[in-house]
Assembly symmetry: C2
Homo-oligomer: 257 residues x 2
């Protein structure tokens, strides 16, 4: 009896959540052009987000406009935190199970933006990804070096160090941003590392997958063992030598090939 009642109550709540977006946001459909993916009946922002996180939806430029409120609720509410936490929790469980070498060559790769550091409050100004970011303003924001840590990643970082795993930060950021990048990392608590790898001028034309594959190959060739790799984009985790295991943090705000 309790179970039946629970199912009915839950169904009502889920249905309400599921349909909220079309109800609350229908005025947006009148105001602006709708991306092709939003055309079909019963478009769901939750399904769109799952599609993005599973790499089924690729090469998108902005979040569907009708998902702006959905995104605000997701990103500022508890779910984004919980979704991040279960990933870093699994990563730690995995790391704990490893048998490490005694030569100090076991490393874990951290991506930086939306992995080690969070730009959520910058991106919030652009409708949580529903509007294109202003590249110049974003660069100015990064140069300030004041981005907060993604709390779950910082916790994982500390726990990995305690296990004796060294960390390498591998980012698509350009080499001229080294000072602001390193000072930002230190400011929020990432205070030690084996390497921070940024792109030099000859590497700026490469795709993320190409660039990161080359850098990881160099690491492996110089004797490191990549025991883990965490990032918010699939392009952090695909290609050559991705690592013995990879972990995908959520990021429904932007897509980097």
């Amino acid at each position: 009896m309790v179970t039946v009642l629970s199912i009915v109550v839950s169904l009502a709540i889920i249905l309400a959540t599921s349909y909220q977006v079309s109800g609350l946001q229908s005025f947006n459909l009148i105001r602006q052009p709708v991306a092709p993916r939003e055309h079909f009946w019963g478009f769901s922002c939750q399904s769109w987000r799952l599609g993005v996180e599973t790499n089924n939806i690729r090469d998108w430029t902005t979040v569907p406009k009708l998902c702006e409120i959905y995104m605000a609720v997701y990103l500022l509410g508890p779910q984004y935190r919980k979704d991040s936490r279960i990933v870093t929790y699994e990563a730690f469980r995995y790391a704990e199970s490893l048998e490490l070498g005694d030569d100090g060559k076991d490393i874990w790769i951290f991506d930086i933006d939306e992995t080690s550091l969070s730009h959520l409050f910058f991106i919030a100004q652009y409708g949580f990804g529903t509007e294109p970011l202003n590249g110049t303003a974003f660069l100015e924001w990064l140069e300030k070096g004041e981005a907060p840590a993604l709390p779950e990643s910082l916790k994982l970082y500390r726990r990995l160090l305690n296990l004796g795993i060294k960390t390498v930060f591998l980012t698509g950021r350009a080499e001229f941003m080294r000072n602001s990048t390193e000072s930002n990392l230190k400011l929020v608590g990432y205070d030690t590392w084996e390497k921070v790898l940024l792109r030099n001028s000859s590497e700026l034309n490469q795709t993320q997958v190409e660039y990161k594959s080359i850098k990881r190959t160099e690491l492996v060739e110089s004797g490191y063992r990549i025991v883990g790799n965490i990032g918010d984009q699939w392009s952090d985790l695909l290609g050559a030598y991705p690592g013995s295991r990879t972990f995908k943090l959520p990021n429904p705000m932007y897509y980097a090939e």
Copy 2:
């Protein structure tokens, strides 16, 4: 004003949904042992499901017991359908964009269980994956050959055929099930195919990734081009020659390595 009100209402709904599970299901915590992943504070069934779908959570045996009602609501409600539909929608958009050869060698690989056919109503008897399936009973169910199609996959199948892409069914099922498998596929509308590949006795010891990699390699070596590949398990989509693009359907009910 409308926007602020909308955000407040949405937050209330999401918070209610987010916390429902611990409230309604807490009696389960007393009744049965809790899996390690469920120990940490604020465990969320929604985060668990995202973790599974993104391949962050691996090698799990059953769905966390406290997610039984969450699963019932997800799988029987509209969200599972919507989550499947956005995947097959993206797959069709991609397929439409392809330039096909004129030699009839472009193929699309379909997994069978929880991709072409659905066993949702069988698995519902086992608490939607929260209890281990009875292997003998499952085999008997499969042998009946009466499983319904996953409607989204059947629609994709028909649209791909219309585009001139041939289909190959590649499944972990054993060769002795060929008759029931083929008749089940035909019964629900998958009425033509290039091949249906099942495991022969020497292949039963291979992992899904090994077995499916070998079969895909054979296809490529005999001249086929795998333009797409759709499955509900990451083991359908990883390994050798996964296909020019892969699509991951949702399946939070069971895990196949």
